[in-house]
């Protein structure tokens, strides 16, 4: 239940494994890992090792005459174990067509630049194993955003929405004393933990059917960002009210119709719908008066 604070994750405490003759958690994890690796290898070797992966990549470039009409290009990329969608398009760019354009940076699901529409779902290119996908792998730019070139979409609108919720900590009264810190309780940190993981990749916004039809809707990412600060106990009550005033507007939280599309695609597994629903309840509570 999202109104309650999440249980802090407890660490598995090993209870003297030697005494009981049982394996320690670490041994168990190592074993599982080995098992998992073995399974993966068998799948890879039988299916893909030494083969090529067929990818179809969306191409569009307003400045090149041939590419003004959007089309799909086919690439056959040699498969390597552990290859991600991003690795595949990078290989295609490096070896076959240097004009293939896409955003990428950290390659470890932190920077949030390489969200693509892969086989009909918004996914992070660097986080999606190509062996998990059905071939040919169709790689398109994020839907519901203007395509600038190939896989690059215009993110301005998304960033505008993100900034609209004032995504920064606002607290006027600082604790006295030079070395005093603004402490957050562990429980409160757990509560906002998932919401802090947003990497601004815009996968959720792109998957949201409502955001597609309503350009003014804040969108799941921005509301999640607002949740992160509205639920932070270190901010004053007035600031929380100010945040809720932004959210409870016509194109704020109430546009969400709980399709769960954003929650399904979020590469960081943020429970976006849950956060939006909780803010809806907060907005109601703020305005509910019994007299």
């Amino acid at each position: 239940m999202s109104t309650q604070q999440q249980e802090p994750e407890t660490q598995e405490a090993p209870e003297d494994p030697e005494m009981k003759g049982a394996e320690s958690p670490q041994q168990r994890r190592l074993k599982e890992k080995e098992q998992g690796l073995a399974d993966e290898e068998s799948v890879d070797e039988s299916d893909l090792e030494g083969e090529t992966v067929h990818i179809k990549v969306f191409r569009y470039d307003p400045e090149v005459e041939d590419k003004q009409e959007p089309r799909f290009d086919d690439f056959h990329v040699p498969f390597e174990k552990g290859m991600t969608v991003l690795d595949a398009v990078m290989y295609a760019r490096d070896e076959y067509d240097s004009s293939l354009t896409f955003r990428h940076s950290c390659r470890q699901a932190v920077c949030g630049s390489d969200a693509f529409f892969v086989n009909g779902t918004q996914r992070l290119g660097c986080k999606t194993q190509i062996s998990d996908l059905e071939q040919p792998v169709r790689i398109e730019p994020l839907p519901h955003q203007e395509v600038v070139k190939d896989l690059v979409v215009d993110m301005d609108h998304f960033y505008d929405q993100m900034h609209a919720v004032e995504p920064y900590f606002q607290q006027e009264d600082l604790p006295e004393g030079d070395l005093e810190e603004q402490r957050q309780s562990r429980e409160n940190r757990e509560k906002v933990k998932m919401s802090t993981r947003c990497i601004w990749c815009a996968a959720c916004m792109s998957s949201c059917n409502i955001a597609a039809g309503d350009n003014e809707y804040l969108g799941p990412a921005a509301i999640n960002k607002a949740y992160r600060f509205a639920m932070d106990e270190r901010e004053d009550e007035e600031i929380k009210e100010h945040r809720l005033r932004i959210l409870e507007q016509e194109h704020g939280v109430w546009r969400c119709q709980t399709q769960f599309s954003c929650t399904e695609v979020c590469p960081k597994d943020i429970p976006l719908t849950e956060h939006i629903q909780e803010l809806k309840r907060e907005a109601v509570k703020k305005n509910l008066k019994f007299w």
Partner: protein, 154 residues
């Protein structure tokens, strides 16, 4: 930025095969909602043709034609009975009644699911609760068929 390409919204319905449970639940909920509103107005329109029954308005019908009129031959019944009997005698109306039940039951069950979602209960199981409401709707609809179709094929 000089130029960009808008891929439009069409793909949304073009990729219906890739929709997730939550999306289907949303579509079905909208669809059943509109169906129920449509039914409401049809209901009012049809029944308003029988308003005269309150003033004792009657019509002459052949009792054999109407399932809800007893006796044989030309009988005088009030207009309400005649209207309803005329409708109930049609196979398509019985079929639509089953459809109405299915639509209403799904809308109720999914409405309960949405209520739970609004209260923040069991959001992790939202897909399962959607499937559950679908299955329950199916069961209730099938179970209702003998009752609704009595006299017209059953």
């Amino acid at each position: 930025m000089s130029q960009s390409y808008n891929r439009g919204l069409i793909e949304d319905f073009g990729r219906w095969k890739e929709f997730s449970a939550g999306m289907w639940a949303w579509i079905f909920h909208k669809f059943t909602g509109w169906m129920l509103i449509g039914y409401l107005f049809t209901h009012i329109a049809v029944l308003s043709t029988a308003i005269g029954a309150a003033q004792g308005e009657t019509v002459e019908v052949f009792a054999e034609d109407l399932p809800n009129v007893e006796g044989t031959g030309l009988t005088e019944v009030d207009i309400y009975t005649a209207t309803l009997g005329g409708l109930e005698g049609l196979f398509i109306v019985r079929l639509l009644e089953v459809g109405l039940l299915a639509v209403a039951v799904f809308h109720i069950l999914n409405g309960l699911r949405l209520l739970m979602v609004d209260l923040g209960i069991g959001l992790e199981a939202q897909d399962k609760s959607f499937y559950a409401s679908l299955i329950l709707t199916g069961i209730i609809t099938v179970a209702s068929v003998p009752t609704f179709m009595m006299g017209v094929g059953f």
